[in-house]
């Protein structure tokens, strides 16, 4: 690189000397040299600057999902050791975490024991039902379930419309009669074409969703008598 530049410069000087009438060959050369140095240095300076910057930007530490050259599978996130329990989900309260109101041992998703069967047969929530629980259930339902089951629970959500096997409507007799725990169980373990949602939806949210599904079912068969008297007049106004 340097050699080529030098020989190039030599050539121009030779040419200049041949030419007559150039009064200030040396000054021109000096200007030329300044210019070329400036042109060469300024990008180099920029490169230097950016070089400094990236070291602090990309520190040699693992941020979430940063690949690793150390582990054979290329992941810095390590798989959990079997039987690991997250600290915040200690399952100290089985009724709350798993809906096991019998106060028995913690329920394992992969076992088909009596505990699981009991859970699928549960007819009540493991915690009190409030407006907040239903609101939360509605929100989570619309996030995680509505893509297939649709917001009304008829089973013709966008994903089903795209060609996924249609889930049954919640408004068929079999599901209207199914115990509350059935929905929790399906969310936890999957059913038919539906995979398990245990990783995506927390246990308490699964119960809230189950409660909301029940609300959806009730909504289709509600009569005026189910509406609180205070609200009833509003509906009657609309009807007229």
């Amino acid at each position: 690189m340097l050699k080529i530049e030098k020989s190039g410069r030599q050539k121009t000087e030779d040419r200049r000397q041949k030419r007559s009438g150039d009064k200030f060959p040396r000054r021109r050369e000096r200007i030329w040299r300044w210019l070329s140095t400036f042109c060469l240095l300024s990008p180099a300076f920029c490169l230097l600057l950016s070089g400094c910057r990236q070291d602090m930007h990309d520190q040699p530490k693992y941020t979430p999902f940063r690949p690793s050259e150390f582990f054979a599978d290329g992941r810095s996130e390590r798989p959990l050791v079997d039987g690991t329990v997250p600290r915040r989900d200690l399952r100290a309260d089985p009724a709350r975490s798993d809906g096991d109101s019998s106060g028995g041992r913690a329920f394992q998703p992969d076992e088909t024991s009596a505990a699981q069967t009991d859970l699928a047969k549960a007819t009540t929530l493991p915690f009190p039902l409030t407006k907040e629980v239903l609101d939360r259930g509605q929100e989570r339902f619309n996030i995680s379930c509505a893509p297939c089951h649709s917001r009304g629970g008829d089973g013709d959500g966008m994903v089903a419309q795209r060609g996924f096997r249609h889930p049954p409507s919640y408004h068929i007799d079999r599901l209207r009669e199914a115990p509350l725990g059935h929905f929790y169980d399906v969310m936890t373990n999957g059913f038919g074409a539906m995979p398990s949602y245990a990783d995506q939806v927390a246990p308490r949210d699964r119960w809230a969703i189950a409660a909301y599904i029940r609300a959806l079912q009730l909504s289709r068969n509600a009569t005026l008598a189910d509406v609180p008297p205070a609200e009833r007049s509003k509906l009657e106004e609309k009807k007229q």
């Binding site: 990309d58 992941r75 893509p147 966008m158 074409a193 995979p195 990783d199 995506q200």
Partner: protein, 219 residues
């Protein structure tokens, strides 16, 4: 002794002293613009991915909520890149033998990580937490733009400190009601600043003094 310089060079000398200032100012301005341009920040540059995942298709056309995949955005610093199991929830049947998704199926069957290209890459010396922003009424689209209209994802913000501070100095200009955080269509109302001030109070967003202090983000 003859004069070395012609008289006209006097003018050139004067002009160059004066002009040098302008030239320096120009240089500073040009460098500033260059580092703030998308050439440096890579804003508005769509990144290629191993599988050309389209947010427009999933979030826009299919109307899937952000949180279906980014499950931890409300509870942790990291919004979460979904595991391929989440992809397979639907793609076990949809496009199940399409060559386009071969990488996804291979990853799922053989437990091989897909190396996605990171789009929003904050410098490691900046602390950022998704959950606090989402829970205090900062919407997805405030920072990420209309992701539901992006076939390939790009960033719409420079992600430079100046950009962060723009909101940390005056959050009332940007916050929205919590139930609108995941709404991609949300538009600020005409009286955003007044509404925003109420929300800032209601959500107990700390004063600009606190959230613009160095250790808020550099900890």
């Amino acid at each position: 002794m003859p004069q070395i310089f012609h008289r006209s060079t006097n003018t050139i000398a004067r002009v160059s002293i004066f002009g040098g200032l302008f030239f320096l100012a120009f240089l500073v301005w040009a460098l500033y613009e260059l580092q703030a341009s998308s050439y440096n920040t890579r804003a508005f540059v769509a990144r290629a991915q191993p599988v050309q995942f389209s947010h427009k298709h999933h979030a826009g056309d299919d109307g899937i909520d952000c949180r279906y995949c980014h499950t931890t955005v409300e509870t942790s610093a990291f919004a979460g890149i979904p595991p391929v199991k989440t992809c397979m929830n639907c793609h076990s049947q949809l496009f199940a033998d399409n060559a386009y998704l071969a990488i996804v199926r291979d990853s799922f069957k053989n437990d091989k990580a897909i190396h996605w290209t990171r789009v929003h890459d904050l410098p490691d010396f900046a602390y950022f937490n998704h959950s606090i922003h989402v829970n205090k009424g900062v919407g997805c689209s405030t920072c990420h733009g209309r992701v539901d209209e992006m076939p390939l994802t790009w960033q719409v913000a420079s992600l430079q400190m100046e950009w962060c501070l723009e909101c940390h100095r005056a959050p009332e200009k940007y916050v929205r009601p919590r139930d609108q955080v995941f709404n991609m269509d949300w538009q600020p109302p005409p009286d955003q600043v007044e509404q925003g001030k109420k929300l800032v109070e209601q959500y107990r967003i700390q004063s600009a003094n606190v959230i613009t202090s160095c250790s808020t983000c550099h900890r």
